[in-house]
Amino acid sequence: MKDRSAFTFTRRGFLGTTVGGAAALAAGPTWAAGKTLNVLSHKVHQTVLGADADDLMAAWKSANDADISFTTFDSNPLQDRLFREASLTETDYGVGYIIDNRPTSEIASLFEPLNDLTVSDPIEDFDDIAHGLVQGMTVDGNLIGIPVRHATQGLFYNEALLEEAGISAPPTTLEELVEQCNKLTFTSKSGTPVTGMILASDLALFPVMFARAFGGDFITKDFQLVPDPAAMEKGLDVLRAMFESGALPRSYATTKNDDQVTWLQQGRAAFTVLPFARYAQLNNPEQSNFPGKIKAIAFPGSATLAADKPMASIVEAWAMVIPKNAKDKALAWAYIKEVSSKRVTLGMALNGNGPVRVSSYSDPALISKNPLAEVEAMVLANARGAFPPFPEAARAQATMLEEVQLAVIGRKSVKDAVASIIERVTPMMPA
């Protein structure tokens, strides 16, 4: 008798299995979520929501039988993609993340007004979300985005270098800051040449901060261009004097934002201005030569600044919007509501997000994890954007920076530079 294998595989069986398998795959796994919400964001917005066991949205996904699919880009490409998607007849994206200095009237018209939804299907304790951030997302009377993240600028300093230079405490006024920067332009014990301060020259926020330290501004919320030219001149005078004394690096004109981080981590600069959220990176022992020694305070105003006019730092905020052409707006709003809840806002803050809820800052877990929580909350209370959104904002910023650079490196007098800013930017201002 011929032995037969216990397992035989016929052609019919093979074909049947193949067809059946293909059909099963085509039908999709039965355990998959019923719906998918497509979200267009920066990677950091996805990261702060956690993943796997720490997924802050796990309960929402299960309750809504939905999955979330993130498409992430860098900030500017993200805004570009979001506006293009929202301009189509229909988009697959339910939620997009927008920066607060982008929504002009034209751009805002691409997104769903949310005023009615906040009444008919309210967000938990909506008044707890910082009012300034909510206002920043209100265009032509329509609330178009719910704030979700902010980056507020603070003054970072290297405590070890301050101690080495015999400075016992960080500055409390702008004048003290300049004095300390000059003192800290030296060669440290390790032989590293140190500059007092490093600032990127391609970002408007720094000259704006220095102007605000004297009560001035670049463009106010109500579109007044350089409302106090004398204050702007004083701010630029300080920057120019620092450049002349070497307290700003000779490479100022080519300095970028990332240089600020690496110079501080390497001990090549004593002070810089960065969002408070950079604290963890600046003190990361794997990257920094001074882990635990880089601290932050509020950027100080001038001693001449009126007591009733506190120094207004700069804040940049992100908000969640629903494109008008989105397919499932109900699901999108449900997502926004959940992300804006107290629980998720706090969870994101513990993961490194700048919380938009005032109450988050008093949470003991956040205070113990983020030593800057208290000072950040205080600075946030008075902070506002570098300038409001308007169609020619990018060109106005570039023009202003061009004049500021000429003034700081001594190619133009500060007075002439400020006059040029006013003359050149005026035609770009909204009517």
Binding site: H42, K43, V44, D74, R81, L88, T262, R268, R278
Partner: protein, 277 residues
């Protein structure tokens, strides 16, 4: 005389060394930095001797898994685009080489003009079309776009290569009963292989590194590696330079090895027809 030759020789050596330094230094910096501990990457003065670490590659694997998906997508798209461009260019090059008419001759100019159009000009109008066709975020759309942009240059290159193959070979094959396709497959393709490889090198390098089309036409499923690297650079919570350099090294390595391996074909492609009378 001898001194003059020595001076010229030394001058040439210095020029070559300067050129090599100019082109290799950034690559060396990226590769070295990917193995340096994070604190030493931007140390002043620079640390040339260091204990190498694979930490950045490990972090890349754990935190930026999407980068490896991007590499897979880049490979699929590059392979598809190369195959498409090579097939189309060879067939078109053969047609241009072996046929002549007023229409064909004037269309060569059109091919060159197409190549001169900046990609951004056609990209934005294509966005709504690609969406309407529902091929956004697919490998196919990038394969077709990359191939399309290289078919013009590839065709001109292939025509030059095929021009150098004696027509008598075609005629001999024809007498033996071969049709056009048989002649193309059995006679032209084997003899024009260096040209095909040269075209392939151009398409591979372009497709592997391309950013603009990938940015406009992909989202998640077909996202390529350069897009993920751009996200790392623009990270709003700070750039992790070690991880960024690790990703750049991995992105750079395959195409660098490929170009080194195919170097002689690339030169052949660039000089094709240079000595033609």
């Amino acid at each position: 005389m001898r001194i003059k030759r020595l001076i010229i020789g030394s001058g040439k050596a210095v020029a070559v060394a300067a050129l090599l330094l100019w082109s290799l230094l950034p690559i060396a910096f990226i590769v070295m930095s990917s193995f340096k501990p994070g604190r030493e990457i931007f140390a002043v003065p620079p640390h040339y001797i260091f204990t190498p670490t694979l930490d950045h590659f490990t972090t890349l694997w754990t935190r930026w898994g999407v980068f490896f998906d991007g590499l897979v997508n880049s490979t699929i798209i590059t392979a598809g685009a190369t195959a498409l461009a090579v097939i189309a260019s060879t067939a078109a090059g053969y047609a241009y080489s072996r046929n002549s008419s007023r229409f064909l001759d004037s269309s060569v100019l059109f091919l060159i003009v197409v190549r001169l159009i900046p990609p951004i000009v056609v990209t934005l109008p294509l966005f709504p079309i690609v969406n309407a066709l529902q091929v956004n975020d697919t490998h196919v759309v990038l394969m077709v776009l990359y191939a399309t942009f290289f078919v013009s240059l590839g065709t001109v290159l292939m025509r030059t290569f095929i021009d150098q193959i004696p027509r008598e070979l075609d005629e001999a094959a024809q007498i033996d009963g071969a049709g056009r396709w048989t002649i193309l497959r059995r006679v032209i393709v084997p003899l024009a292989a260096p040209g095909i490889l040269a075209v392939a090198v151009f398409v591979v390098v372009f497709s592997w590194n391309e950013f603009l089309f990938a940015f406009i036409f992909t989202a998640t499923k077909a996202k390529t590696a350069p897009l993920v690297i751009s996200e790392m650079i623009g990270s709003i919570d700070g750039v992790d330079w070690g991880v960024l350099f690790a990703a750049s090294t991995l992105q750079l390595a395959p195409v660098l090895l490929f170009v080194i391996f195919m170097n002689r074909y690339l030169v052949a492609g660039m000089t094709a027809g240079a000595t033609k009378g």
